[in-house]
Subunit: 194 residues, 2 copies
DNA sequence: ATTACAAACATACAGCTTGTCTGGATATTA
DNA sequence: TAATATCCAGACAAGCTGTATGTTTGTAAT
């Protein structure tokens, strides 16, 4: 191995710059309206660097989605640790949802993850990415709630997907309606109790 | 007015051809991968005609979405009339959902309405279109259920949006999972009963 | 240290796509 | 039938994507 750090660092740095610049532009203008010349100019490199690191524009977007998902999960996790732990699996589900909605308020995140990602990457790939991040913890939460007998015994993954869909839609709602959405989701989840 | 029908007919005919050809291609390859030369060739006209009838490619897609929404509503409506009318507002909601899921199985419809439309037209425009079609009847159904005291008194539009989001996600599920999704949605709606 | 090599990046290029513009065909009105 | 508006076809310019080639920078070996 020796001390070959410089090349590795250089590579990682430009890659980070590209992903960061792309994230901002995708968030502001959307995927289709963002051009690769714009991205590389914002990143301070040329298109040669972009196509050296990524197969195509969609691959760059995919990297942005992965990063955004990771940041989302991180934010939710931190909020969950900070909040007091009233136990109870149903309460946990609801609190997880609140954390998700709060974390989704980050500028541009909704457009990238909910609006553009399915169209650009395809539903299958988005499902796969989602399974590794947000949906994973949601499935766990629903699973323990079912095992504990706190909610009805329903098909695990479908239920998780349906809840996830509700949270996504709520995240897209205008900010002033968010309260009503939270209340309604709470009622829907409570309705699952045995 | 007199009998100026021929021009009107001609115009309507090429417009129909364009929308029909576009619908097929958008359904198969998605919006981004479909080119306007492809569309006009399939429609048997030239790009001149396309840009005479539509401002741009997105406007053509918008027309496709409108038509698809109308067909969707028609199919659901027919199914609803054919089915026996067990009364009860909650049953009605569930049956409406079944009709929606069945009508959504039409080839390409999911891609156009759920995957591509939000990215191409923007969330706001999709909401506006949806409000004039599917969501409209859903809001009515939920409204009467609430007025009848059959389900909890929750914010009308948010609840309708959340249910709509669930149905959309269920429609995207693999065909073999559809049964589990239907069952789960049924349980979620039943949980809303007072 | 110099040479040999590989990785990272810049520049140039070809093909395609979109939207506009101009001209001709067809229908309507006077 | 002349004038006019509508409908549509073909040509054009600008821009974007992906590739291919060249150049620099870092790494390894002798």
């Amino acid at each position: 191995m020796s001390v070959r750090r410089r090349q590795e660092d250089r590579r990682a740095a430009t890659r980070r710059n590209l992903v960061a610049a792309a994230r901002n532009l995708f968030a502001q203008k959307g995927y289709a309206a963002t051009t690769t010349p714009e991205v590389v100019q914002a990143a301070g490199v040329t298109r040669g660097a972009l196509y050296h690191h990524f197969a195509d524009k969609a691959a760059l977007f995919s990297a942005v989605v992965e990063e955004e998902h990771a940041l989302l999960a991180l934010t939710i996790h931190q909020a969950a640790e900070a909040g007091e732990d009233e136990p109870g699996p149903v309460k946990s589900l609801i609190r997880g949802g609140e954390g998700f909605l709060a974390a989704m308020q980050e500028e541009g995140r909704r457009r990238i993850l909910i609006v553009d990602a399915p169209a650009v990457l395809g539903r299958a790939r988005v499902d796969e990415i989602d399974a590794r991040h947000g949906l994973h913890t949601l499935v766990e939460g629903v699973g323990t709630a079912i095992e504990a007998g706190a909610i009805k015994n329903l098909p695990l993954l479908p239920l998780a997907h349906l809840l996830s869909a509700m949270f996504d839609r709520a995240a897209l709602a205008p900010a002033e309606d968010l309260g009503a959405y939270r209340k309604t989701i709470k009622a829907l989840i409570r309705g699952l109790r045995t």
